[in-house]
């Protein structure tokens, strides 16, 4: 009898193992369109990392590793990138991934009306199918950040058949080649994905389903995790982290982001730059930077869940320019600079969005710089409004964060190149432009690093952006969940994740 009971218990346990396992993820926002070509939001990329594989991926150390690509080679003149496609990969509709599919996708990214990938792939002039499984991307000029670009949405491959059939409606039923396939989406409620049995790396997929639930409030998100409604949440409030670690009931990950938090200064975007001492005189900007205590800022605003920095990449990044270290706070020097500039008490308006982080930064900056003689007025505007004001140059200084790209070029070129779309500061220097072009043309990391050092020396003395710190991605998850990879882009990779019974 006992034996029978034991056997049935074991059987039951076995059944429980087989029973469908779902990974439930809490997101901070509702993603936008689920079409890699048109997608625009950060949070959408979290869903894509389960839904759509890319030609390349990045690892914990920001190294580029092949995903749908098997290998790659640059041509001698660095103007062509040949990619061997991984064999045996199929899309969720069973179609095969081959060189023609890659060509279709790159061309779709480049030509679809409303494509948000067009700018990223602008250096690619044409795509050749070399053989069934080899494709060649031809470039206008050498472009080192291309591989990094292909680790994000520009490298995601969708089924050409589905994309052609669905047309405009592709986003409501995306067909990719990731570990999970699309099941349903109810806007602002849930996105449901289900394991794809034909996945090329399926031995590393240990869930049957993944659901993503957008819960904007961090407290509520955490309450859902604590009550067992969710298994994983992103963007935990920094004020909750210390307690979570002390409680030891949940696992926590803290990963330095690849983006940054900074203050953009209008130095040439509009006439307003010349009307204000901060925009007009580099000495005033230097005094402004010297009056800031970055560690203090990180402590008050982020509960120390940030690494201070003064550049577009964090000090731990391989491309950080060591020749321009983080300056220490120096009120005496700041005062002397303001005196030399003839404005001992400069006044300017600091524009912020209404997010609580941005507002706290503005308040702390206001208090810190007052000691050096600055009179900072804070203007808070809801995000869409503040963005519009920044674009028109209707600001003196603007608290603005960037989510970051794996290659430094993605944090740099668009912000400091003349007339580039994200250059809200209005910074423009022929010499910097030349150096930026050079940094794109060099494939050798050591040589690129030297150019980045020159760019840092050039740009940071003008201070179009005063970089403050690099936030930590804060994740919390069930103690039963293992295999979470701390990748600095802040996107949860679902392959390799396992839930202990």
């Amino acid at each position: 009898m006992k034996k029978k009971l034991l056997i049935s218990l074991l059987l039951l346990a076995g059944l429980a193992q087989v029973h469908a396992q779902t990974l439930r993820v809490g997101l901070a926002e509702d993603p936008d369109a689920l079409d890699p070509t048109r997608a625009r939001s950060f949070v959408g990329r979290i869903v894509f990392s389960a839904l759509c594989d890319k030609l390349f991926d990045i690892d914990e150390k920001l190294n580029i590793v092949p995903q749908l690509a098997q290998s790659y080679a640059w041509s001698a003149d660095s103007k062509a990138l040949t990619i061997k496609v991984r064999p045996g990969v199929t899309f969720h509709d069973g179609e095969k991934l081959d060189a023609a599919a890659v060509k279709f996708n790159i061309e779709r990214h480049k030509t679809l009306p409303g494509s948000n990938r067009r700018g990223e792939l602008a250096p690619v002039t044409s795509v050749d199918v070399v053989d069934a499984m080899t494709v060649r991307l031809n470039l206008k000029e050498p472009f080192a950040p291309l591989l990094a670009t292909l680790t994000d949405r520009a490298g995601m491959m969708v089924s050409p058949k589905a994309a052609q059939a669905e047309g405009e409606k592709f986003a409501s039923n995306p067909v990719c080649s990731g570990p999970f396939k699309f099941v349903e989406r109810v806007a602002q409620d849930r996105i449901v994905l289900e394991r794809y049995d034909g996945y090329w790396n399926k031995q590393n997929v240990h869930f049957d389903k993944v659901t993503y639930t957008p819960i904007p409030d961090a407290t509520v998100r955490l309450a859902n995790l604590k009550s067992g409604q969710l298994d994983f949440i992103e963007r935990v409030a920094s004020s909750d982290i210390e307690k979570l670690i002390a409680e030891k009931k949940l696992k926590v990950a803290r990963i330095t982001e690849i983006g940054y938090q900074g203050i953009t200064i209008n130095i040439g975007k509009s006439e307003r730059a010349q009307q204000n001492p901060l925009g007009r005189d580099p000495r005033v900007r230097e005094a402004f930077e010297l009056s800031l205590d970055r560690q203090g800022l990180a402590q008050v605003v982020m509960d120390n869940e940030a690494t201070v920095g003064n550049q577009w990449v964090a000090p731990s990044n391989a491309f950080y320019a060591k020749n321009v270290p983080v300056p220490k706070r120096d009120i005496a020097k700041a005062k002397a600079l303001l005196k030399a500039a003839g404005v001992p008490h400069p006044s300017f308006t600091l524009l912020t969005s209404t997010s609580s982080d941005a507002q706290r930064i503005a308040l702390v900056v206001q208090a810190m710089t007052r000691e050096a003689g600055f009179d900072v007025k804070i203007q808070a505007a809801e995000f869409a409004t503040s963005l519009n004001m920044a674009d028109k140059g209707d600001f003196d200084a603007y608290v603005l964060a960037w989510s970051g790209r794996p290659d430094p070029d993605g944090n740099l070129f668009s912000f400091h190149g003349c007339k580039q779309p994200l250059n809200y500061a209005g910074y423009c220097s022929a010499e910097t432009d030349k150096l930026l072009d050079q940094s794109r043309a060099l494939l050798d990391p050591a040589a690129r690093k030297k150019v980045f050092e020159q760019i840092a020396a050039q740009v940071l003395k003008e201070r179009p952006v005063v970089y403050l710190y690099h936030r930590n991605w804060l994740w919390a998850y069930s103690p039963k969940l293992s295999g979470v990879r701390d990748i600095p882009d802040g996107l949860l990779r679902v392959t390799g994740l396992k839930m202990a019974p």
């Binding site: 509702d30 936008d32 369109a33 048109r38 997608a39 625009r40 939001s41 950060f42 009306p113 409303g114 494509s115 948000n116 067009r118 700018g119 990223e120 405009e168 409606k169 986003a171 409501s172 109810v186 806007a187 602002q188 409620d189 639930t213 957008p214 819960i215 904007p216 409030d217 407290t219 509520v220 309450a223 859902n224 604590k226 009550s227 067992g228 409604q229 505007a381 809801e382 995000f383 869409a384 409004t385 963005l387 519009n388 004001m389 674009d391 960037w402 989510s403 668009s414 779309p421 994200l422």
Partner: protein, 313 residues
């Protein structure tokens, strides 16, 4: 009565037109460019330009209004510019959720508010009165989001009795649906119960001192019959008006409560859409909400006929 109904129905059309012009116009006064919000972090100028043309933002305001009205008349409320789903689909997805939440909350409000108001009016000056007044004050002055988070902490995190979120359709699993809805419905109903109680109490106090109540008592009717049949029925007219207004507000979506409990209803939809400058969605939702308001007011008018025979003649 029929004539009255016709007149009321005829007034609906100009009201709706006015609402549509207002919502369309007011949204355009919002600073911020929807194309820029939609273009995301990258702000690729070709994308911004493409979106401007696609959303007709390059056309003058009256032309844009024309596009929208023409669509609405054909039953096409447009497409969400963020998720690229048809607005009608979004509205139809959210409407049943919001209606269910509103009705549950309203039922809770009625079940608590009216008896509490009657008890406190009948027992004026007693401990019951003080208790009901205290409850009403609590209901009116407790912020929904705060009460919501407290309930989640208690019933979901500490006790583990109810889910903290996770809306399930009642057609899929009624039990799970009610488990997910009971806390948000209570949070919403609690506030309205307070308001209803105050109004019921004052209406009842007025009616209870009327001559016919004294007559009814003099006839030797039991206090129960006097209160429930004679007094309450006459006190109901102002309560119906208030109830219709409160229900209308509930139907327009309970923004904070929906956020806290992650209920995928109208409130969440409209707030997210305003921040994303998703004009089409905001317009669609407001149009539907306005229609709901108008219908409810019409129903409230009809309810007067039911409770007040004097109006029927």
């Amino acid at each position: 009565m029929f004539e009255f109904l016709l007149k009321r129905l005829a007034s609906v059309v100009p009201t709706l037109i006015l609402v549509s012009v207002l919502i369309f116009g007011l949204q355009q006064l919002l600073p911020g460019d929807p194309a820029m919000v939609l273009a995301g972090e990258e702000q690729d100028p070709t994308v911004v330009a493409y979106l401007r043309v696609k959303l007709h933002l390059d056309k003058p305001l009256p032309v844009r209004y024309g596009y929208w009205v023409a669509g609405v008349l054909k039953g096409d409320l447009g497409e969400s510019i963020r998720s690229q789903e048809p607005v009608l689909t979004l509205v139809l997805q959210k409407l049943p959720v919001t209606v269910e939440l509103a009705l549950l909350a309203f039922a809770i409000a009625l079940l608590i508010g009216i008896p509490a108001g009657v008890v406190s009016a009948v027992g004026r000056g007693t401990a019951w009165d003080a208790l009901a007044n205290g409850f009403s004050l609590w209901g009116i002055s407790t912020p929904n989001f705060w009460l919501g988070i407290l309930l989640i902490m208690l019933f979901s995190v500490q006790l583990g009795w109810l889910p903290a979120s996770g809306y399930v359709s009642p057609f899929v699993d009624l039990r799970a649906n009610l488990a997910a809805m009971i806390m948000p419905a209570f949070v919403l109903g609690n506030g309205i119960a307070g308001v209803l109680m105050r109004h019921t109490r004052s209406a009842m106090l007025q009616v209870m001192s009327a001559d016919y109540v004294r007559t009814a008592r003099a006839k030797g009717l039991s206090e129960r019959v006097v209160v429930l049949k004679h007094a309450l029925r006459n006190a109901l007219t102002p309560i119906i008006t208030l109830g219709a207004l409160e229900l209308g507000t509930l139907l327009s979506g309970a923004v904070l409560t929906e956020q806290v409990f992650t209920i995928p209803g109208f409130g969440k939809l409209v707030v997210d859409s305003v921040f994303n400058r998703d004009y089409a969605v905001v317009q669609g939702v407001v149009l539907v909400t306005a229609s709901a308001y108008i219908t409810l007011n019409l129903l409230a008018d009809l309810a007067y006929f039911a409770v007040n025979p004097k109006l029927r003649s």
